[in-house]
Symmetry: C2
Subunit: 382 residues, 2 copies
């Protein structure tokens, strides 16, 4: 695609290499709701300096590049990992449990791009309602990197934040073309100025005792069922590091074992390994360790038994999400979006609620359902 | 190899196909201890009707084929699986937790072949002491399929059977060339006649209530830390099915997570899945379910924390086995055998004990050690 090479400023050789790699995918559905976008492609894998999920768009304003959100590496132990990777002060910021969205403006409208690089109709509709677009008029080169959280999430519905619908929490403000992140103080100032929610900043502490503070913070977040923290350099010059609570690891495992046919062994294994290192670092007392073991075991087995029971009772295994649309055209667009993402889904009829439309989104877990059914009919394993 | 084609009675085309597949491996080390064997190869993978682990040998008696022990499929639920696969009566036999050995006679001596098809010096030495070789003189076409169990096992050391050294428990008697198994009554008769230990036969029951009896048997075995059962057709005309206790699944998991760098995710995943289906089928009461969850969580986390602590304290992660040799030549032979199996191991000096030699066999888990060390030095994951 010629506009991609131009937007990314690729040499003819690099452009040819990109084409050969076959990693460009359609990033949006042509529709009046996305009127400012003429063409848009996304990178399915990293290419040179450009992250996976990078969006390249021909818009009414011209060519635009929105860099993919970088992978954040993980600490398996707080000590000595924090000390090794940072100098001076570090900021401990809450890592909220939703889905990663980059919000930008093209033409006159706000667009919400999910991690993989798709312009999501569901998220875009909400971003247009909730995000003060003056910010982009004043700072057209910046993007808001947000966690979209709440109960009405099509991807990661959670009740833990008290958000009944869905809302955006900014954790980074970055130059959308270079991916350079603003220092945390500037991010806070802009959030204040434009009225954005921020992912909570929980502590600022010297590296020498950051692991101790982080441990307390993690235990406190765990008690509330929250996901974890991102440890950041206040100037955002060094790469951030993430670290999660046991409750979040277990909640992931619960999800993965509920849908064990769909989820990869790598996903499960990595979360169990996290628990092992945290148990080593955190559990001085036997009863804490025992509680952790029980939590892990229950996360795994309760989830599996629930799915097995469902199939035993003749039902299929589904993940069920409540969604809300303010425009039924967006609902149609979202259905098509989900189809193109390759997700096997069913939707209820929309029903009016307070001037908007509530829809149930059922994600059918065919592999899990089929595997359980096969076993329950008395077939052998292997 | 020409003698293989002749022994397996292969057509020239089949012989060529076997050669192309490149699945023949050396099955023994030339040594006076194995004097009756001139050449021996084994199948590294299934070939036609011949199972993986099939041994083909040129011996002082001529060409011999010892068929590989067939894979036994697993039930994930007792009901309706047993009912679906058997008719009339079934026998519930204890599946002991050791390693699978086929014992045969070549020339004047007994040979012990491990699952993969190797003639094992360690096991052969013990088989020659413990197995009444008159059996083979009377029944040269038969092989004894045994579980080698006990504390002094180089592969699966267990204290649960009260066997301080190592002993053999016959679970099948088969025609070594056709792999046809004798009916259970005949196996019992021969074992009685020649004084062999048998893997315990725990019940004979009609299929209609076999799942209920099996559940009680499994719970009882579980309380003793035993592995599980094999469900058999008394005539051995139908394929047996295995089913394991929760304690055995957890013991496997404990082993796998103690050495998580060495063990595959498939190994771990399959055992967790077994627990899920058993929890579904067995745990009517909440407290049983909770105990199972705790058992699972502890199996995983205790093992990991133990290995992490070892590396933290500057040690390497090892599996440690106590072995006993009656002839130091066999010890030398076993070291070479282990080396050829590709196992990274160290051995203590042998020390005399009661007319035999005790040796400590350390299996070094390099990958687990290195991974933990990398993390504990503050490096990031992914």
């Amino acid at each position: 695609m010629k506009f991609v090479a131009e937007a990314l400023n690729l040499s003819p050789i690099a452009a040819k290499r990109l084409e050969e790699k076959n990693i460009l995918r359609q990033a949006f559905i042509k529709h009046p709701f996305f009127a400012d976008v003429i063409e848009a492609l996304k990178l399915d894998r990293k290419f040179g300096e450009f992250e996976e999920g990078t969006l390249i768009a021909k818009t009414v304003d011209g060519l635009e590049v929105v860099r993919g959100y970088p992978k954040i590496k993980r600490a398996l132990t707080l000590h000595p990992t924090i000390k090794k990777h940072f100098r001076g002060e570090v900021v401990l910021e809450e890592k909220m449990n939703g889905y990663n969205v980059r919000v930008v403006m093209f033409g006159e409208n706000v667009y919400a791009i999910t991690r993989g690089g798709f312009i999501c109709p569901y998220t875009t509709e909400k971003a247009r309602m909730l995000i003060n677009s003056d910010f982009f008029k004043d700072h057209p080169n910046l993007m808001l990197c947000c966690e979209a959280v709440g109960e009405e999430s099509p991807f990661v519905p959670k009740e833990i934040y008290g958000v009944k619908t869905i809302d955006f929490y900014v954790f980074d403000i970055r130059d959308r073309k270079t991916n350079v992140a603003l220092p945390i103080k500037e991010k806070e100032k802009l959030a204040e100025e434009y009225g954005f929610n921020l992912a909570p900043i929980l502590a600022e502490v010297h590296v020498s005792k950051a692991h101790e503070v982080a441990k307390d913070v993690i235990e406190e977040l765990g008690r509330k069922g929250r996901e974890g923290i991102v440890i950041k350099d206040p100037k955002m010059k060094r790469q951030p590091i993430k670290y999660t609570t046991s409750e979040s690891n277990c909640s992931d495992l619960s999800f993965a074992f509920r849908f064990f046919g769909e989820y990869g062994k790598d996903f499960m294994f990595s979360r169990i390994i996290r628990e092992g290192f945290q148990a080593f670092e955190f559990d001085e007392r036997d009863e804490e360790f025992k509680r952790r073991c029980l939590r892990l075991g229950e996360a795994i087995l309760k989830a599996m038994v629930e799915s097995i029971r469902e199939v035993k009772e003749g039902r299929k295994v589904y993940d069920k999400m409540r969604l809300r649309f303010y425009d039924l055209e967006v609902f149609e667009l979202f259905k098509e979006h989900i189809r193109r993402m390759g997700v096997s889904a069913e939707f209820s009829e929309p029903f009016e609620d307070n001037g908007s439309y509530v829809v149930w989104f059922y994600r059918y877990m065919k592999s899990t359902t089929d595997k359980i059914d096969y076993i329950l009919r008395g077939n052998l394993w292997q």
